[in-house]
């Protein structure tokens, strides 16, 4: 089976929390990723949260909820928020849901 459940690597540099997600984001793994990012966000109180999606290989609408939820959480604690590296089908999903009008996308974005 060629699926790889999503995982997240967290790193804080210069008061920016970078959450680099790899693999396939679906409902099964979204909850764990959400909890890991939220715990780091609350403990580090960074100036900015960046979700790096360069290495996300699949995302269904569970990913939309995950990203919108982190955006909302960051807003609540006064942390700037951006998504980096959303490409291809992943970016298409954000556009379809209208999140491109709410969330800042940075970096290597290919439609």
């Amino acid at each position: 089976m060629d699926t790889k459940n999503a995982a997240v690597k967290l790193e804080t540099v210069n008061n920016t929390l970078r959450a680099a997600i790899t693999g396939e984001i679906d409902h099964h793994c979204a909850k764990n990723i959400r909890q890991e990012i939220d715990a780091a966000l609350l403990s580090a109180s960074p100036d900015k949260l960046i979700i790096d999606m360069s290495n996300v290989t699949f995302m269904d609408s569970s990913g939309l909820g995950l990203i919108l939820g982190r955006y909302t959480k960051a807003e609540e604690v006064g942390t700037a928020f951006a998504v980096q590296g959303a490409h291809g089908r992943v970016r298409q999903m954000f556009d379809m849901a209208g999140l491109d009008r709410i969330i800042t996308f940075e970096g290597d974005v290919k439609k």
Partner: protein, 146 residues
Amino acid sequence: MKKSANTLKLQFCSLSQNESLARSLAAAFVMQLNPTVAELADIKCAVSEAVTNCTVHAYRDAVGPIYMTMHAYDDRKVKIEIRDAGCGIPDVETAMQPLYTTDAENERSGMGFTVMDSFMDGLTVRSKPGKGTKVTMMKKLSALPR
């Protein structure tokens, strides 16, 4: 639609780890027809949405059977039926509206049916409260290059 050239019938539990299993099996079945990368991605995403709906909404805190039947036709159409015997949907039309969700607290986006509708070429949802829901999706694959 011509006679089905191949059919695969599956039954699995409404466990969240089966979401990736279901979309991988759908991709493996459709690969026989040499789809494009984009077509394969469309089908995987639509199947993932439909199976997630069964896990999250149809059976909620319980575990029940999900029935997935896939047909491949000679005219390069693929039909995928995903059925549950869960709680059913009282108002299908409302449930299919973009951003509509009954599970906002768990960060469900309410985009599942919109994704299925956008990525497939046909979507039918039949449901009876207390009986279950059947989602039927159709995809017409592009002609093979000569």
